[in-house]
Symmetry: C2
Subunit: 238 residues, 2 copies
Amino acid sequence: MKTRSPRAPTRLPTKFRILNASERLFAERGYEGVSLRDIARDADVEVALVSYHFGAKQELFRHVIARRSAEHADRVLAALERERLEAPTGVPSLDRIIFAFCSGSFELARLPDAGWKHYLQLIARSAMSPVNTPALKPLNSAYGPVVRRYCEALRQAAPRLRDGDLYTAFYWIQSIVQRMVAETGILDRQSRGLCRSGDYESHLTRLVPFAAAGITALIPARTPRRKPTTAPPGIRSQ
Amino acid sequence: MKTRSPRAPTRLPTKFRILNASERLFAERGYEGVSLRDIARDADVEVALVSYHFGAKQELFRHVIARRSAEHADRVLAALERERLEAPTGVPSLDRIIFAFCSGSFELARLPDAGWKHYLQLIARSAMSPVNTPALKPLNSAYGPVVRRYCEALRQAAPRLRDGDLYTAFYWIQSIVQRMVAETGILDRQSRGLCRSGDYESHLTRLVPFAAAGITALIPARTPRRKPTTAPPGIRSQ
DNA sequence: GTCTATAATGAGATAGAC
DNA sequence: GTCTATCTCATTATAGAC
C-alpha cells in the first residue's frame, strides 16, 4: 500500500531526504515544534530510518546545522577577503565591508535550491532564542571567526570608532540581515505589498548606505579643542 | 506532602501565577517547547488548573499576549504623540521619532517587573517565525496602528524619502529593537563582555543617531543638476 | 476553585525480521 | 538499509470528588 512515490526516477538517498525535510520543518516550526514523525512523513521515509541514520533528535539537528554552516561561514569570509584584495590600500571601506557581509548571505538566500533559504531561516530563528537552544553551541564555533574578522575590518575602516559602538553596530547589521533572510512576510504586509521579502537586490542597495551612514554617525568628532557643552565629545553622531 | 510554599504571606491569585509562568517559559523556550506541566510546575499550581482557568493551550497563549499588547502599543504611540506636542512645527525630527519608538520598548524592558521583559522576548521570538505562529494574528491587530502612525510620522519628517525605503528602514529599526529586548546574550559574548544586553541607556544613545543617519542616507539628492560622482550627495548622516 | 485520577493520543527510541 | 512492531514515557484534556 504505502508506496513512496513509485518508480520515482531520481530519488535522493534517504539521508539527504531526511536532512532536507528536517531543515525545512525545523526552520518553519522550530526544534520542538517538529516531531520525528513529521520529518519522516515529509521525507517520505519510515520513522525508524531517522533514528537509524542520525541517532537522537538532537544529533539530527546538529547534522542539519553542520551540513551548511562551514560553507556559509567560508563564503562570508571569502567575500571580505575579496574586498581586501580589491581595495587599493588593502583596507576596504565601510560600504564594502557591509556589502560583503550582507551579500554573502543574500546570495545564498535567493538560490534556486530552497535548502539554503531554510537553513538561513533556521539560524535566524535560533539566534533569537534567549536561552541556550541546541543550535547555539555549533553556531558559535562556526561563526565565531566571521564575527572576529569582520569586526577587525570595521576597526581598520573606522579607527576612531569606539569598541562598544563597533560591536553593537555590527550586531545590529547581523540582526537586520538575519531578519531579512528569515523572510517572515511581515515586511510585505506592513508595506502593503510594496516591499517583497525576496527582493534582495533592493535590500542590498538600501542596507549598504543605511548601515554605512549609521556607523559613520557613531564616529566621534575629531579632537575637539574646546570643551564640549554637556555631553562627552561626539556622543551624538555627526 | 506537596504543599506549595507553605504559609506564603502574599501568594498571587492562581490565574496570575499561571500567566506569569507561561509568559516566562514561552519566552524562553517557545510555544511548543513548553508543556502545560512545565507551566504548572513553575507556577506551583496543579496541572488541571491551567486548563480550568484558560482552556486549551492556544487560548492560554492568547491570554498571555492579550494581557500586555494593548498597553505596550499604547505606550509606544503615546511616546510619538508626546514628540508631536513638543515639536515646534508639530512634526518631530527623525531623531525624535526614532527615540520615541525605541524608548517606548526599552523602558518596559528594564522595569524591575521582569514580566515585561519576558513579554518582549516572547513577541520578538514570535516575530521571527517564518510561518504563522499562533501569536501572529493577535500581534498584528495590536501593533498595526503603531506601524501605521510611525510610518506616517517618518513620511512627514522625511518627505522625499521613497515609500519602499521608508517601510524597509522602519522594519529594520523594529528588527534591531526586537533583538535588543530579546536579550539573547549574543552581543555580550561577541563583544567579550564589553557590551551588556541590559544597558538600554547605551543602546538608545547609539541607536538614535545610527538609525537617523541611516535613513537620511536613503533620501535622494535634491534635484541633482550635475550627475553625482559615485554616491548621491548627503549619503552620510545629517 | 482545587485536587486526584484517568482517558486518549503522540512522542522518542529500539529490537529484530527481511 | 529498510520495515514492522513495540516499549516507555510525556503530552493535552477532562471527569468527578471535595
